[in-house]
Symmetry: C2
Subunit: 147 residues, 2 copies
Amino acid sequence: MTEVHLRDALDTLKSTGVRITPQRHAILEFIIQSMSHPTADDIYKALESKFPSMSVATVYNNLRVFREAGLVKELTYGDSSSRFDFITNDHYHMICNTCGKIVDFHYPGLDEVEHLASHLTGFDVSSHRMEIYGTCPTCKEHATKVQ
Amino acid sequence: MTEVHLRDALDTLKSTGVRITPQRHAILEFIIQSMSHPTADDIYKALESKFPSMSVATVYNNLRVFREAGLVKELTYGDSSSRFDFITNDHYHMICNTCGKIVDFHYPGLDEVEHLASHLTGFDVSSHRMEIYGTCPTCKEHATKVQ
DNA sequence: TTATTAATTTATAATTGTTATAATAAGTAT
DNA sequence: ATACTTATTATAACAATTATAAATTAATAA
């Protein structure tokens, strides 16, 4: 699964004339296999044992490259730093208000909303984004235990 | 309309023991009457003729007060700074990829999605957020003229 | 009123995520 | 090999936001 995505992504990059460096490969691989929607700093820290001399700028540079190649989506929430999500199927995010955990879930067909919005506003629609907020099972558990 | 919202909002604030200062009043009023989802800096600039000595910190402080009182929602998009939106009915945002314009539209009942997400992930759901991206009529017009 | 206390604003410094710059290194093509 | 492009590194710059401390204002109580 991860391997297929990685191979496809590398092909996409090559086809746009982007060079596959070891750092670039590692960053991309980390994002794909990560289920945690990492921040730039998460990625930097995760790879520092493998690439002790890698610069933060390299992480940011490559995240931009991936974004421009349409491989990665940048997500901004209320908190300070952006999170990065490898683009696969259409999915949405369930976000815990307490611990910040992000869980993906799939839901097809919000086409209806897109159509309505387009009709009401006169926009041409290209994409949409949705997040649902709440409390994850772990935090619920913890809350009941504490009180 | 604006007046009703403002009066309600002031009541909410008073009931939580927050003092209504001139700056606070002006910031709140500006957000409510503004259709443009202003940034902190927008607010600061808009009020500087009225309050020449007002600090940026005051704007941020009060935005936090309003947020904590449930009056205002903070929205982060890809760009650098947060935007603030007075909370009225459930509505979503249509955002232009080209000029960044934000247009509200109303759409009831994404309860179904909330339920599904809750069922799939085990979260308790508190709220959700959705944005749709596209091209606004003005930018479409402009694009056709240019080419 | 006056004194006292708490809340708010102001001015400014500190912090932090991100971007820009310049130098170095690595890969590619002639 | 030489020149040329691209990527990485190290570091400085920037910009949004937050923290801090002093000054101001408002509310309360004697």
